[in-house]
Symmetry: C2
């Protein structure tokens, strides 16, 4: 159906692009410890790039392919630039959240801190790695844009994506300060975070960049279609991700089940549960999430309340409605045959749970 | 002599560019706390942009003016983009160093943490502000490049600057792990840090961007001249900055005297002092800098040893040699009359101490 590069092609090429655009060699050679730290950072840049599903690059390649022709070398570079930016964003995200794990392995700042025997230096190096990789991603995208249609719009769209993710992270931190006593507003604020922090670079930008690079649509139509499809798809993806944290398994997500609850993350699930809870359950939930930390028992109680209040089902209904919305907008593109199938499949890859028959709404704890 | 925008013009225009390229409004409005945090971040972006000397923008404008004609609106934008990037870099630097003060006022993450009553959230917001402002600076530079000669080279040079600063910060963290027992290698490694962490964006990039935007030299000659002048000038600037930390006054630098010593920073001054010290003084210095913290007495002892070992004079000689080197390269440009004077003055602005007759080498503690 398609000649789109697969996950491992994308991963390998992303690492190659990082090495080409950010070589460590020019900076080194003045002391053993500098050489050692540069080598550690270079090797961690590769390690941090490994292990994702490459959904974003694949969506960009599919969008390009659906509207244009086969994947050019510049288009592959552009798709990989999105992945390189994601690596940068996740490294910073893990520093903000003080997370030791990413995709089941040590996060970048943790790995560097362990290797060099100093957590503070590990955090500093992680912060800088994120900066350097974000710059690298723009460099790759700008280079690629010179051989693609709509080059100027591609650079602008790539930069807008980075700004949106940063502002989405700002909103995400703000939501941590939101009162739990107004669950309806909390849910709205969280959905707004998903739009900026997640949908921006997960679905909207990959679609827009792929459409722009195809040269088949004018820039305004590319942006319109990318937002129409990408916004509901990206928000649905994040809702699934939060649901997976509660009903998934550790091996599927690379994170312990209930990790978001343990961290006290303010999610749409939590807002929905507080909204629908009895006064006594509401007090229990708010009490647990106002504490600095939650125990294993708290996590269990929370998951039970997410189920009993209907919050899990409500999230499934939200996801289903958003997915239908995205598909309607996708169909409005008027693609036919294999191009339509390719786009459908690439979008569906973001929703493994919804597509998985094993996930019976009556059996939330698999 | 020149119609170059002054410090306050540059500051005002930089703030205006940040507001135009990174407006907070599209992201807000879903909860009071989100609006409050967005407003705090927006206002801190302006606050963090205020108070610098704008030396980098002024050097870029002078370089443009010396080789070309008057300052165009696009050239002013490009010069301000360097300042916006500096703001971003300093915000991240203060997070890495856990510094509460910048230019005599609370650092961005500290101010935000205080305002929102949560230091962890302050650090997260600071980290994201740095990311968003770095992206904003590229956006401003890319926009400006479209109305300037050598547009593609301007974008590449701007991105190379950001990468170099990031790698310079990596090296700076590496030097913290360097053994004090090899002072000669420590001095070489520190000078290498200065080249990447400081000279890159302080002098080399402003010169290169100004030359490129003038359209009077081919890109390779722009790069060659910018490196030839900017590298010695930028390293001399950083050596002066480190010297000012020891012999300056708090009101001149906005930082307490001896702040670098208190933090245990591995500087060229320290390396030179260890190198030239008697065995007993050497043991004293290494002992103080191997500790987690230094007392007021330690700071006083260190400053005395910096003086007695001749390290202060050696730094002055290093600065003087680098300055002469930079001036020779500047003269090699063959500028005449007011254009030569303008460039001389813009370069000299980086060296207030060397130019200040009050700074008698025999009176290091003014």
């Amino acid at each position: 159906m398609s000649s789109i590069p697969d996950r491992s092609d994308i991963e390998r090429h992303s690492i190659e692009l990082i090495r080409r655009h950010t070589p460590a060699r020019p900076y080194g050679g003045h002391s053993d410890v500098c050489s050692r730290v540069l080598a550690a950072v270079e090797s961690q840049a590769s390690a941090s790039t490994i292990g994702g599903k490459r959904l974003r690059a694949r969506l960009a390649l599919a969008a390009h392919s659906a509207l244009g022709s086969g994947t050019s070398s510049a288009m592959l570079d552009l798709a990989c630039a999105i992945e390189i930016f994601q690596t940068a964003a996740l490294i910073h995200d893990d520093i903000i959240d003080d997370s030791d794990l990413r995709r089941g392995r040590p996060s970048a700042h943790k790995a560097l801190g362990d290797e060099l025997g100093d957590p503070r230096i590990g955090r500093g190096l992680g912060l800088m790695m994120g900066d350097v990789l974000a710059t690298c991603s723009i460099d790759v995208a700008a280079d690629a844009s010179r051989s693609l249609p709509n080059g100027q719009e591609i650079v602008s769209s790539f930069l807008a994506m980075q700004r949106d993710v940063g502002m989405g992270q700002v909103l995400d931190l703000a939501v941590e300060l939101a009162p739990l006593s107004e669950p309806d507003r909390l849910a709205q604020a969280s959905l707004n975070v998903f739009r900026w922090k997640t949908a921006s670079y997960t679905t909207i930008a990959p679609l827009e960049l792929g459409f722009l690079a195809s040269g088949s649509l004018d820039p305004a139509s590319c942006a319109r279609a990318a937002h129409a499809i990408g916004e509901p798809l990206g928000v649905a993806f994040q809702l699934e991700d939060d649901l997976l944290d509660v009903v998934g398994t550790s091996s599927a997500t690379g994170k312990p089940v209930g990790g978001d609850i343990r961290e006290g993350k303010r999610t749409v699930l939590l807002a929905d549960a507080i909204d629908a809870a009895t006064p006594s359950d509401r007090a229990t939930l708010i009490g647990m999430f106002d504490k600095d930390a939650r125990t294993d028992d708290d996590v269990e109680t929370t998951i039970r309340l997410f189920h009993d209040t209907g919050a899990l089902d409500r999230s499934r209904r939200r996801i289903s409605a958003l997915w239908s919305h995205a598909v309607r907008e996708l169909d409005a593109l008027g693609l036919e045959g294999s191009k339509r199938d390719l786009m459908r499949k690439s979008c569906m890859d973001f929703m493994p749970m919804m597509m998985d028959a094993k996930n019976d709404p009556q059996q939330p704890l698999d």
